[in-house]
Symmetry: C2
Subunit: 130 residues, 2 copies
Amino acid sequence: MRIGELARDAGISTRLVRYYEQQGLIAPSRQANGYRSYADDDVDRVARIAGLIQSGLPTKLVKEVMNLEDAVAEARPSCPRAVAERLAAELAGIEERIACLSRSRDTIRDYLARTEHAVVLAEAAGDRPD
Amino acid sequence: MRIGELARDAGISTRLVRYYEQQGLIAPSRQANGYRSYADDDVDRVARIAGLIQSGLPTKLVKEVMNLEDAVAEARPSCPRAVAERLAAELAGIEERIACLSRSRDTIRDYLARTEHAVVLAEAAGDRPD
DNA sequence: CTTGACATTGACACCAATGTCAAAGTTTAG
DNA sequence: CTAAACTTTGACATTGGTGTCAATGTCAAG
């Protein structure tokens, strides 16, 4: 598929897709005419990249995480101790973010639940209003 | 306490503390000499603000969440339906981020666990069950 | 009184993530 | 064949979060 469809499906602008590529986060092949060509899996990958970036991870870190994701598929990965330590540090950072966001999530849920607006909560939980 | 101590305790620069204030996220009182004066609770509040911002929430959103946090303390809060709907939307956004980050967390954990670097993982683990 | 640490405001600077626009080539529908 | 819709690259603009510097004020300790 081409960039327009990919972007639409992933829910971001084509501009960002190209930006991610420039940052080394994706490497689409090219058609004879020079158009970028994406696989179906790339929709997910790109959406995931966007999600991480929106969660405050810098592209450089996102890149590492994505690489790791590919590496995990392999049988017996390994890495120098130093790398492992850096990853552990990043892991801690991510866990902090999760904790922070979780708390806010609880706060908002709590608030909505207590303002007789359980209706809205229920709606949002099931389908996707816009 | 004054801004220097607050910043140190909260783990950010004084520059950021002032920036947060400018964005309406905190409202310290002033001493006679013009110095900002913070309460002990503000350390937590500021650390929390910083955490949310690092998690990708724009200051405007952080502000709302913090206001909510204060409001939740009240007995019988209430808000117009429109507001509740916007909050629900934000809640969804936050949940998405959490999902994204959680997946990355699992990936990294997994990776570290499988690269005989369980050592590092254990070291970094002191806290954070969930 | 002087010095050093900390505060104040305001300005300028930087980076990363995005938007937007322009000029040119490609594909597709009518 | 033409027009609309897409794509390419490249450049410029913007925004939000930060760092940093400068000039000035406050205060505690020697």
